[in-house]
């Protein structure tokens, strides 16, 4: 059967993608940030997942205000990098896993998570930047990717609790798939940042590090934190952190921290990153 072995959490700042695409990773500004992902590249080269379930949010690229799905699952065979207004990122096409994705959609809906099924979708920096951070610049991504798009643009996003429960349901869905597949779940976005209004530029390292601690050791407790705490403490866009709870819900209650990294700034944003391995239910 398919099994989830580990989870990866990472910020998905668009400027990181631009720094990679424009060859700026060795600049003084960026070097310390990318240094935090060197161990991660080695880890994933060793881990060799067959499939990544990648939880992210679209930033008005694939979805405008015409249609705002709270939870959507990408069931297509492939996903093109989106043109976000300055041309698509020069990264490989993202290959999906339609068989597992459709299986998950069926199982999740019957498990009372009413997923939106997406058969055609371009994927923006929210999905491609985490792949670039973990895999560098390969000619093709080394594994299949199932996008899970979460609305965090239109208030209200799903609650932290709902996200955590979705992660648990994703695990049940994956483990009921008969094919032998190694699956890693990515939770992306955050950490503290605010892109809008007079409070733009907000960073709260204390909140971010407490979030990392609690996500590791007490995820159910973290899942009970209400939206306003994220918006107030981590900024209007810091609320993206609820997506990390989907990844966490898909793992064992006990996890081993294979890697932890925190860095400020990447453009307007605090970068946080975790690799968590299952360590017992």
């Amino acid at each position: 059967m398919a099994r989830i072995t580990a989870g990866v959490a990472t910020s998905h700042v668009p400027a990181i993608g631009a720094a990679i695409d424009l060859g700026r990773t060795e600049q003084d500004y960026w070097r310390p940030m990318f240094a935090g992902y060197e161990a991660s590249k080695a880890w994933i080269a060793e881990e060799k997942p067959d499939v990544i379930i990648l939880v992210y949010n679209d930033h008005a690229s694939a979805f405008s205000l015409e249609c705002i799905p709270t939870f959507a699952i990408g069931c297509a065979a492939s996903f093109q990098p989106a043109d976000e207004g300055w041309g698509p990122r020069p990264v490989p096409v993202v290959e999906g896993h339609p068989q597992l994705a459709w299986h998950m959609a069926e199982k999740l809906i019957l498990d009372e998570f009413d997923m939106t099924i997406i058969n055609k979708m371009d994927v923006d920096h929210g999905l491609t930047v985490p792949l670039s951070l973990m895999f560098g610049e390969p000619l093709a991504w080394p594994c299949k990717v199932i996008p899970i798009a979460v609305n965090v643009v239109q208030y209200p996003p799903p609650t932290g609790h709902r996200c955590f429960k979705l992660g648990q349901a994703i695990r049940r869905a994956v483990e009921s798939f008969p094919q032998d597949l190694k699956v890693v779940v990515f939770g992306t976005g955050g950490m503290s940042h605010q892109l809008q209004g007079p409070r733009a530029g907000l960073i709260n390292a204390e909140f971010d590090n407490a979030f990392l601690d609690r996500l590791i050791a007490d995820p159910a407790g973290q899942a009970a934190v209400p939206h306003i705490d994220y918006v107030r403490e981590a900024g209007s866009e810091g609320i993206e952190l609820v997506m990390w709870l989907i990844m966490r819900g898909a793992l064992d209650l006990k996890v081993r921290v294979a890697h932890r990294f925190y860095h400020v700034p990447a453009s307007n944003t605090a970068v946080g990153h975790l690799i968590l391995e299952n360590a017992g239910r």
């Binding site: 892109l195 733009a200 530029g201 453009s267």
Partner: protein, 128 residues
């Protein structure tokens, strides 16, 4: 309608149902700038391009004046208004500096030194 507690957070505009309803055409106008032909048409005659959208006059004026905070107050969402910024050749960091009332240099310096601190920016009562 969101919980009023959100209104206590300083310098922050929550993109809730009321704002989304009010800003639908403003945001969809911004979305149209994802296409190069539309960007060219907008740049050639901004007023005429805006008049093709059922936006309020106040929204159109905010766009023409590039009043970035004003657009948010009239229902704009930052991920949409940033497409107008991109059309002008401005980055997220550049409009963030404008929205927070400082020069781009000052804003970049603030970010390099750990960003805008949470102390004093948590609630309006605290900020006072």
């Amino acid at each position: 309608m969101h919980d009023k507690a959100f209104d206590d957070i300083p310098g922050t505009i929550l993109f809730d149902a009321d704002r989304s309803r009010e800003g639908f055409h403003l945001n969809q106008f911004c979305m149209s700038l994802m296409k190069a032909d539309n960007r060219a048409a907008f740049k050639a005659d901004e007023r005429a391009y805006l008049d093709a959208w059922p936006m309020t006059e106040a929204q159109k004026q905010a766009v023409l004046r590039r009043d970035w905070n004003g657009m948010l107050e009239l229902g704009g969402n930052i991920y949409f208004t940033s497409k107008l910024a991109a059309t002008d050749g401005l980055s997220f960091q550049q409009i963030a500096a404008i929205m927070s009332g400082v020069s781009q240099q000052e804003y970049a310096e603030m970010m390099l030194h750990g960003g805008r601190p949470i102390a004093g920016n948590r609630s309006k009562s605290e900020a006072r």
